[in-house]
């Protein structure tokens, strides 16, 4: 197969990024949860203080997907902070289209992210995985990732907008 390149996402990529976000969400059976729009991605990723960073994997036109796409994988990440150890790189989304798997694209993306983490002096890369997603868990564990929920008992919590408003009203 195909050569591919990895590069920083540009504003013109937001349509493909949203397409891939939705494909990943569909795989997680959460497609209806995606309310993000191209406009949000544009504003939030390419202004003065971006909320996220993105890498995309691109193939040449002759190797485009069955649907005619050349952007075939992506990773969305941002920097977080642990008051005990400092800066961290948080991997929000990481996905390669099914027909382009097995060619090392995922491994290269992860390598690039790790290089970014090391270069920016992050102590660690964090992300979440659904416990039923065995192939992904194995992929990450093979690369030395540890499961903090299992090993240290961390549980991820969330408060949605409705309850956030309620909390601020009660003041």
């Amino acid at each position: 197969m195909a050569n591919f390149i990895l590069r920083k996402a540009e504003p013109k990529d937001v349509s493909d990024i949203l397409r891939l976000i939705k494909e990943l969400a569909k795989f997680e059976e959460m497609e209806d949860q995606v309310i993000l729009t191209e406009k949000d991605l544009l504003e939030d990723g390419f202004g003065d203080h971006p909320f996220y960073h993105c890498i995309v994997a691109e193939v040449s036109k002759q190797h485009q997907s069955a649907d005619g796409h050349v952007i075939v994988g992506f990773a969305m990440y941002y920097f977080t902070y642990d008051p005990w150890i400092g800066k961290l790189l948080y991997l929000e989304d990481f996905y390669v289209m099914k027909e382009f798997r097995g060619f090392g694209i995922g491994s290269e993306i992860l390598k690039k992210l790790s290089q970014t983490a090391v270069r920016t002096r992050c102590s660690s890369m964090h992300f979440i995985v659904a416990e039923w997603n065995k192939p992904s868990i194995d992929f990450y564990k093979r690369r030395g990732a540890s499961d903090l929920s299992l090993e240290e008992g961390w549980r991820l919590f969330k408060i949605d907008k409705q309850n956030l408003l309620k909390m601020t009203d009660e003041e």
């Binding site: 309310i35 690369r143 990732a145 499961d147 008992g153 991820l156 969330k158 956030l164």
Partner: protein, 171 residues
Amino acid sequence: MDFTIRAATLEDCKDISRMILELAEYEKVPDQVKITQRDLEQDGFSKNPFFHGIIAEVPEHHKSREGHTKVGYSLYFYTYSSWKGRAVYMEDLYVMPEFRGKGIGKALMSKVSQLGLAAGCTQLNFTVLDWNKSSLDFYLKQGCWDVTSDLGYHCMRCEGDALEHLAQGDL
């Protein structure tokens, strides 16, 4: 009891550092704190801060047994959900034991929510240790839900040698 909630400043880093250690001791892992007061000053108060802080302060006549008036804090930063967009992550929330039960924790969390909503965030995320029953109960009462329990999401981490190997492309 009177208390004020305000944004943290550079001068607060000494007390934030003290309270980070107290929180780590409460979580039974004080030896894991590598970040110093100086790191906090650099990482939180330079041009592109990696986190933001809120402080709870009491008047002089209510100071702690050891003479502290800064009795609680929260550290937070902005993140991004590929489904919903802008989000706020509450990394630490802590109130000194002798000042608990007075609504300070709730007020700190409410402030983070207000700031998050003002910045266009639709969710507040954080993690809690599974043995921390009093905190779990407090958060569930605020309308939070446990994403790890309900959706099976596990928090994963890749650090140290594993991160270095990943960056070098070793498997």
